[in-house]
Symmetry: C2
Subunit: 236 residues, 2 copies
């Protein structure tokens, strides 16, 4: 159903089941999108594929929908992992939104030495990822890891997954094997010398360049993910 | 001078010349960046390269700097042209900022049938492009054309410059000749059937895909420009 409203829900989706809407979803459906009882939406929960459902109740505080049929079976949605330094709030939120649109499977915020932002609100980041997953027609939401330091992030990284670090400015050939890779993007002020040294001595990290100009941190995340996807044949 | 403050000015830059700062630049230099008389900045005007200059006066309403030496000769900065449908204000501003970072030479906003935003403030868009040019170490600012309708935009487009229209969702091989190309991105709600028909019948337009997911309009602009640059060998 192209153009349908898609909503992420947490309950199981199966024949004959009923799903509920929370207050925010009810507000969105009824007030923002002007949907009424009897109209259809598409539901997904990250486990049971996408389902057509008919709204059976809707008021200011919640609602319900009856599941009609499965439109798409659940499939795995492998994608790049994005490790990004905490940025100012608006920039971090742009990163989460765009990375979700671009198919990131896992988001790993970390505190860099030059990170100036406080700890992000996990519920707020999850809500942004959910909305982006709904709108971009994913069947899953990216997992958002808890904030780590850069050393802890690298120590816990699966060594078999290459991690491309956007730290070079000169033109480098981009890897052609970005399918199961990760992208590492630093903070607004760049990595410190100590961090660069740590990165350089981490075996699975490979430096890459995103071009000749200085990019903002959130732009680097978006551009790097687009190029990883392209190198993996996921897009264009 | 990596890490220097870079400012766009309008006056000629030549040996022995003096440049002036307007109120906004003086505020930025003195209050935000805490620079003082005697310290150095880098100036560029889009015509005379980049120059090292020493601040000779600075107060709340303006300032002056004495030019010391040229750091970089002016070079042409050819890049893609970006034709983008007017989006909500914040999204249009993101497009202008990111397109400048990504090297766009010319920005051509147009009014699509499903554009919901009012006319943008040209001074505000120019200020955003200027700041992005300063921070990304460009030597030029992108030109920002006045808003046209889609038919007028296409009628005035130089036929020798391919215009890649981000209107397909399936995977298409991306062009390898994006160097002197343009990118066409529609509004939040997509192009209308009539617009798609017009686009399909315009000889220099070539449909491209930005991947399997639905992207927001501003994401499509950023991703499309990154892929055009990569295809032209400008980056990575």
């Amino acid at each position: 159903m192209p153009g349908s409203i898609r909503l992420f829900v947490t309950c199981p989706l199966e024949p004959g089941a009923e799903s509920t809407f929370d207050r925010a979803q009810a507000h969105y459906l009824g007030r923002v999108m002007r949907r009424r009882v009897g109209e259809e939406v598409v539901l997904f929960n990250g486990r049971d594929g996408a389902w057509r459902a008919r709204i059976t109740a809707l008021n200011a505080t919640g609602g319900r929908a009856a599941l009609a049929e499965q439109l798409t079976a659940q499939v795995a949605e492998p994608g790049p992992w994005l490790a990004f330094a905490l940025l100012k709030r608006a920039a971090s939120e742009i990163v989460v939104q765009k990375a979700t649109e671009l198919g990131a499977e896992r988001l790993l915020p970390f505190r860099a030495e030059r990170s100036v932002a406080g700890a992000p609100n996990p519920e707020r980041l999850a809500a942004i990822a959910t909305e982006a997953a709904e709108q971009s027609e994913r069947l899953t939401r990216p997992a958002i890891a808890r904030v780590l330091s850069l050393p802890a992030l690298l120590a816990g990284w699966p060594p078999g997954r290459p991690l491309f670090a956007a730290i070079e400015r000169r033109a480098l050939p981009f890897p052609r094997d970005g399918k199961s890779a990760g992208l590492l993007v630093g903070p607004e002020g760049g990595f410190t010398e100590g961090e660069l040294d740590l990165i350089a001595h981490t075996p699975f990290v490979r430096p890459v360049s995103l071009g000749p100009r200085i990019l903002r941190a959130e732009t680097a995340a978006i551009v790097g993910l687009a190029l990883l996807a392209a190198s993996a044949g996921h897009s264009i």
